[in-house]
C-alpha cells in the first residue's frame, strides 16, 4: 500500500496534466481519480515504471469521456510575443487526427521518451517512430497552409 501511495503522489500531477490536456480542466480531476481507482484495483498488474501504464488507463477514460475540448481553451495562453505562434500551433494541432495529436503531445507536452509513449498507445517503439514522423510532417504541412497565414494576419490586426 505504501508503494501505491508513493506512485500515486509521484504520478498524480502528470496524469492530471495529461487528462487536462486531452479532456479539459473541468474533467481532469475526475479522470485522474478514476485512473488511480482502476490502478488500485489492478495493482497486481502495475509495472515498476507505472507512468505509461497509468497514462494508458487515463487515455481510455479520456476516450470514454468523448470530450476533446482542450483546443477550445486558449485563454490559458499568456499574451506575449509568442501568443500568435502558440495559438497557431494549437490550432494546427487541433486540425490533425486524434492519433497524430496523441503521438505529438505525448512527446512534446508530456515529456515521455518514445519507448514509454509507445507503451501508452499500445504499439512498438518502431511503429511509434513511424507515426511520430508522419505526425510531424502533417503538423508542418498544416502550419504552412495559406489558411494559417491568413489567420495569423487577422490575429495580428485584431
Amino acid at each position: 500500500m505504501e508503494d501505491f501511495s508513493d506512485v500515486y503522489r509521484e504520478c498524480y500531477p502528470r496524469v492530471l496534466a495529461y487528462a487536462a490536456s486531452h479532456a479539459g480542466a473541468r474533467l481532469a480531476e475526475d479522470i485522474t481519480s478514476e485512473t488511480f481507482t482502476i490502478a488500485w484495483r489492478k495493482l497486481d498488474q502495475m509495472p515498476s515504471n507505472a507512468l505509461p501504464w497509468l497514462l494508458g488507463i487515463a487515455r481510455n477514460l479520456v476516450k470514454a469521456s468523448r470530450r476533446q475540448v482542450w483546443h477550445d481553451e486558449i485563454d490559458d495562453v499568456p499574451i506575449t510575443d509568442d501568443f500568435v505562434r502558440v495559438v497557431e500551433l494549437r490550432a494546427a494541432l487541433a486540425g490533425l487526427s486524434e492519433g497524430d495529436q496523441e503521438v505529438l503531445t505525448l512527446i512534446a507536452w508530456h515529456g515521455l521518451p518514445a519507448a514509454e509513449a509507445a507503451q501508452v498507445l499500445g504499439c512498438t517503439t518502431a511503429t511509434f517512430f513511424v507515426r511520430l514522423h508522419r505526425a510531424r510532417r502533417r503538423l508542418k504541412a498544416a502550419l504552412s497552409t495559406s489558411n494559417f497565414d491568413r489567420a495569423r494576419e487577422s490575429w495580428k490586426t485584431s
Binding site: A20, W40, R41, D44, G56, N60, L93, L104, T105, L143
Partner: protein, 338 residues
C-alpha cells in the same frame, strides 16, 4: 523537425495546479476500495479448470479404448463446452448502514443438438465485498442472512450449493440468454445487417439493447468464426453502442469491445453493459455491467456484475459433473424469503 517539436512543447497548456486536499482525499477513498484477487490466485482460479480438463484428456488418452473406426478425423465436435465465472454485487443490511455483498460462482455448460448439461453455483459463495463491507457486516452481528436494500427478499451469506441440470433438448440454444432454439447455426448470416434482421425475426426483439444481448450471447455460442465476426460488427453498428478500442484485461493483455446503456437494476441505475473480446481469436473474454455514475460508495465505471469466459471450446469429451450433487434437484438459491 526538431525545432518544430520544441516549438510545440512551448505551446503546451500550463500544467494544472494540483489540489492537494482532493488528491489526499481521493487516495484515502481509493485504498479503502477492494482490489482484484492476487495474480497467483487469479492464475490458479483461472487455469484450474483448464488443468482439470487437460488431466481428463490425458486420462482419456491412457485409459479409454481407442475410438471406433466410424469416428473420422475432423468429424464435428459433439459438445460446445462453456465455462464461465460470474460475480455480482448486491446492497444489503440496514438501509441506514448498508453494505455490499458479492455473489461469485462458476457455471459449467455442455450443449449439443439434443442434450444440455449444466452445473450451476459451482464454487459459489456470497461474502462481504470489501474490508469496509466486512466490518459493517461484523458490526451487524455477522448475520447468516441479510435483507436486500430496496428489495423484498434476503441474501444468504456463505457458500452456495452446486446443482446439476440435465435436459434433453431439440436443437441449439441460440444464446444463454434466449430460449430460441435452432436446428443448426450454419444458416445464420455472415453479413451483420442480415444477421440483425434474422435475430429480430427469430426473437421478435427490436430494441438495440435486446439485440445487443442476443448478439453477445451468440458470440459465446458454437458458431463459425465468420458468424462470430458478423455478430461483433452487428454490435458495433447498433444505435447507442460505443466501441472500446483498448480495454485492459488481466495478465496485462488488451481486448476490444463494445458498450451499450443497459436498463437499471432494482439497486443500480445508470448502468452500461460491456462485452470485451480477444482481438486475436474473436472469442468473448468478459461481459460486464458497470455503473456510469458513483453509487452506494462505488465510483463511476465500477463493475457491478461480470461474466468471465474461462473456456469456450468444442469437445468430444462427455460432460464431467460433480458426483455428490443431485441431478435435476431444486437449485438452492442464495436469494431467500425474509
Amino acid at each position: 523537425m526538431e525545432d518544430l517539436m520544441k516549438e510545440l512543447a512551448q505551446a503546451a497548456p500550463p500544467a494544472p495546479e494540483v489540489d492537494r486536499d482532493r488528491m489526499e482525499r481521493d487516495l484515502v477513498r481509493i485504498i479503502a476500495l477492494p482490489r482484484e484477487r492476487t495474480a497467483r490466485t487469479q492464475f490458479l482460479r483461472r487455469f484450474a479448470p483448464l488443468v482439470a480438463v487437460a488431466a481428463v484428456i490425458a486420462l482419456a488418452v491412457v485409459v479409454l479404448p481407442r475410438p471406433t473406426p466410424t469416428v473420422q478425423p475432423g468429424a464435428p465436435a459433439q459438445w460446445w463446452h462453456v465455462l464461465t465465472e460470474q460475480s455480482s454485487l448486491m446492497v444489503v443490511g440496514d438501509p441506514a448502514n448498508p453494505y455490499l455483498v458479492q455473489f461469485s460462482s462458476k457455471t459449467d455448460q455442455w450443449l449439443s443438438a439434443n442434450r444440455q448439461v449444466t452445473v450451476v453455483q459451482k464454487d459459489g459463495r456470497v461474502e462481504p465485498y470489501s474490508s469496509v463491507d466486512e466490518a459493517r457486516w461484523e458490526m451487524a452481528g455477522k448475520p447468516a442472512t441479510a435483507p436486500q436494500v430496496g428489495g423484498s427478499r434476503a441474501v444468504r451469506i456463505g457458500p452456495m450449493r452446486p446443482s446439476v441440470q440435465k435436459a434433453d433438448v431439440s436443437g441449439f440454444q441460440m444464446s444463454m440468454h434466449s430460449h430460441v432454439r435452432l436446428d443448426s447455426f450454419d444458416s445464420l448470416p455472415t453479413d451483420p445487417a442480415e444477421l440483425k434482421k434474422t435475430l429480430e425475426n427469430l426473437t421478435g426483439e427490436k430494441t438495440p439493447y435486446r439485440i445487443a444481448t442476443l448478439a453477445m450471447g451468440l458470440m459465446a455460442s458454437n458458431v463459425r468464426d465468420d458468424q462470430r465476426r458478423a455478430a461483433f460488427e452487428l454490435l458495433k453498428m447498433l444505435d447507442g453502442v460505443r466501441f472500446l478500442d483498448r480495454v485492459s484485461l488481466r495478465e496485462g493483455s488488451f481486448g476490444v469491445g463494445v458498450a451499450i446503456a443497459a436498463p437499471a437494476t432494482f439497486q443500480f441505475s445508470n448502468v452500461e453493459t460491456q462485452l470485451v473480446v480477444n482481438p486475436e481469436t474473436g472469442l468473448p473474454v468478459v461481459k460486464r455491467d458497470l455503473i456510469t455514475t458513483p453509487q452506494h460508495g462505488l465510483p463511476a465505471m465500477w463493475p457491478i456484475s461480470e461474466e468471465e469466459y474461462l473456456l469456450l471450446d468444442r469437445t468430444t469429451i462427455d460432460p464431467i459433473v460433480p458426483g455428490d450433487v443431485p441431478v435435476n434437484g431444486e437449485v438452492e438459491s442464495p436469494i431467500v424469503e425474509r
